[in-house]
C-alpha cells in the first residue's frame, strides 16, 4: 500500500497504538499522572528536534533551534494575550513567523559551514534571548504570564476542537494535541526525506560543490530547509508556551539549543525517527533518574558518555528501530 512494506505499516500501527491508547492506559493503571506532562514535553521537544535533524540533513550543525522556539512561543503568546487571537490560529502564525525570520537570517548565514555555522547559530540563540529581555513588547525579564488556555473552535456551528479551559483533564488533552502534532511532523519529515527534495538534500550533505555543479540550486534548497526547520521550532515553542501558560526570555536558552542538537545525535543522524527516540531517552531518562537525588546528573551524564562511546552513530544504529530506516 502506497509503496510501504507490510512490516513498516505494522510498525507504524503499533507505534500509533502505543502512543494514543497504550500510554494513557498504562498511566491510568499506574497512577503516575505526572508522566503526562513529561511525555507531552517530549513530544513537543521532538518536534523542534525534528527541525534540527533536517538542518543536519543538509550538512549543517544547527545550535539555534532554541532561538526559533523562543520566537514561536513569544509570537503565539503576544497574539493570544495582546491581540486576542485564538490559539489555534496563532500556532501556525508562530511557525510562519519563525520561518520568515529564518529566511531573513538564513540568507547571509547559510553560506557558512561546519563549526562556523554551528557557532553563529549558537550566538543567534543568545541574541534572541537578549532581545527578548530588551524589547518592550516581550515584557523583559518578567515575560508574559497568564496566557489563557486554548479556546474551542467550531466551524458552521459544529465544534471541531473543544475548549481547553472548560475541560476537566487538560493534561490528557495537551498530551493528545502534542502527540498528534508530533505524528504530523514526523510524517511530513518522512515524506520530505523520501521526496525529490530529500534526494537533493542528501547530495548537498555529501558535497555541496558537486551538487551545485550538476545543477542543484543549493542556495534555494538550504533556505527552504532552514525555513521548514525553524517552522517546526516555532510550532514546538508556541505549543510549549501554551502548556506552561507563560513565556520568559529564559524559556529557551543556549542549553536548550544544545539539547535539541544532542537529541539528534543520540537518536542517530542517519534515521528519520532518530530525534524522536533521542528526545525520549534524554528527557524521559532525566526524569526517571530524579529519584537518585543529587546523583541524578552524575548517572545521567555517565550513561550519556557510555552510549556515545560504544554507539557513536546513535542509538538507532543498533537497528531495533522499526519502519523508516533511511
Amino acid at each position: 500500500m502506497f509503496g510501504f512494506t507490510a512490516k513498516q505499516l505494522t510498525g507504524v500501527g503499533i507505534f500509533l497504538f502505543v502512543l494514543f491508547i497504550g500510554v494513557p492506559l498504562i498511566i491510568g493503571a499506574t497512577g503516575r499522572w505526572d508522566f503526562y506532562f513529561t511525555l507531552t514535553s517530549v513530544a513537543l521537544l521532538a518536534i523542534a528536534s525534528a527541525g534540527v535533524w533536517l538542518t543536519f540533513y543538509i550538512g549543517r550543525i544547527n545550535i539555534g533551534q532554541g532561538a526559533f522556539a523562543l520566537i514561536g512561543a513569544y509570537v503565539s503568546a503576544i497574539l493570544v494575550v495582546k491581540a486576542g487571537w485564538s490559539f489555534w490560529i496563532s500556532l501556525p502564525a508562530a511557525g510562519i513567523f519563525a520561518a520568515i525570520v529564518a529566511i531573513l537570517i538564513g540568507l547571509p548565514i547559510l553560506r557558512l559551514r561546519g563549526v562556523y555555522f554551528a557557532m553563529i547559530t549558537l550566538v543567534l540563540t543568545q541574541v534572541v534571548t537578549l532581545t527578548a529581555l530588551a524589547l518592550p513588547i516581550t515584557n523583559g525579564a518578567k515575560g508574559i504570564s497568564n496566557i489563557p488556555l486554548p479556546s474551542g473552535v467550531s466551524l458552521f456551528g459544529i465544534p471541531i476542537l473543544p475548549d481547553f479551559a472548560g475541560m476537566e483533564n487538560t493534561k490528557l488533552a495537551f498530551y493528545y494535541t502534542a502527540c498528534i502534532l508530533m505524528v504530523i511532523t514526523y510524517a511530513a519529515l518522512y515524506r520530505l526525506v523520501n521526496s525529490r527534495l530529500g534526494h537533493l538534500c542528501r547530495s548537498m550533505q555529501q558535497n555541496e560543490e558537486l551538487a551545485s555543479s550538476i545543477g542543484v540550486n543549493i542556495a534555494y534548497i538550504r533556505i527552504v530547509i532552514f525555513a521548514i526547520s525553524s517552522f517546526f521550532g516555532g510550532i514546538g515553542g508556541a505549543m510549549f508556551g501554551s502548556i506552561a501558560q507563560s513565556v520568559y526570555p529564559s524559556s529557551f536558552q543556549v542549553a536548550d539549543s544544545v539539547n535539541f542538537m544532542l537529541n539528534c545525535f543520540l537518536g542517530g543522524l542517519g534515521f528519520v525517527f532518530g530525534p524522536m527516540l533521542g528526545t525520549l531517552v534524554l528527557y524521559f531518562g532525566w526524569d526517571l533518574l530524579f529519584e537518585f537525588g543529587k546523583y541524578q546528573m552524575l548517572i545521567y551524564s555517565t550513561i550519556l558518555i557510555l552510549i556515545i562511546r560504544f554507539l557513536p552513530n546513535g542509538l538507532l544504529s543498533l537497528r531495533f528501530g522499526k519502519g523508516g530506516d533511511k
Binding site: V115, Q126, L130, A134, A255, L262, G270, Y295
Partner: protein, 289 residues
Amino acid sequence: MEQILANGVYLGSQYAMIALGLTLIFALMNVLNFAHGQMYVIGGFVTYTFYGQWGVPFVLALVMSCVTLAILGALIERYLFAPVIKGSAREESTMLLAAGIAFFLDAVILLVFGEKQRGVPKIVDGVFNYDFRLIMPYDRILICVLAILSIVAFIGLMQYTKTGRALRALAQDRTAAQLMGVNVDRYSMIGFALGAMLAGLVGGLLVTITGVNLGMGGPTSIKAFMMVMIGGAGVISGAIWGGIILGFMEAIGLAVLYQYGDITYLLIFVSLMIFLAIRPQGLMGKPWG
C-alpha cells in the same frame, strides 16, 4: 579612558588564555570542547582547595591545578575522544561526547565542592592608584602579568620545541604529519592535555579575584567559543586577538552603556553575527576550517 584601557588589557589577557586552550584542542582534533568552561572551574576549585583550604603556597597550588587538568585532559582524550573519533561515521558526534563530559564534570564539581561561591584570601594587598584616573588592585595587575607571561611561554613552547613543532604539524595536516613520522596518537593526547592545562591555569589564576562557583562553566565556554570565532577557529594568534578584542569590547561597552545593562552583550553578539556573516573564517582563520 585609562581605566577602560586597563580593564580591557586585564580582561583580554584572561580571555585570550581561555581561548588558547580551546583553539588548540580544536586545531588538533576538530573537536569543539563544550567542557572547556567546566575544566576552567575545576582548575579554580583545585587552587581553592590547596591555597585557600590547606594553605599551600599559591604558586604550588597553581601547579597542582595544571597537573590535575593535564592528567584529566589526557585521560579524556585517550579513553573517550580518540575511540569515538575512530568509530563514528560523522565526526560531529564528538560534540555529543563533549557535551556529555561537560554534564559529567558539572556533576562531579557539584558532588565534591558543592554549589556555593568560593573565594580565597588575596595574594597581595593594596591598590594601584594613579591620580584617581587609573585604579587597579595590585592582585589584578599581578594576575594580568602572570597571564601574559603564560601566553608568551605557550607561544614559545609551540614555536621553539620539538613538541610544539609536532603539534603545529598535526594541526596543519594530520595525514602529512603522520607520514613524516609524527606519533599522531601520542601528540593528540599531549595537545589535549595542554589545552585542558591552560583552562586549569586560568581557573587557578582567576579564583584569587572572582572566586569560583559551579555555574561559571557554561557561560565561560560560550565566551571562549566567541573569541575563537572572532580570531578564526584553530589559529593560535587568532585566539589571542579574539580574547583581546572581546575583552576590550566588554570593557568599553560596560563603561559606555552601563545604564542599559545587557544591551552591551546584545550589541556584542549582533556585531559578531554580522562580522561572521561577512568574514566566516574570522580574522586569521583558514576558510571552511
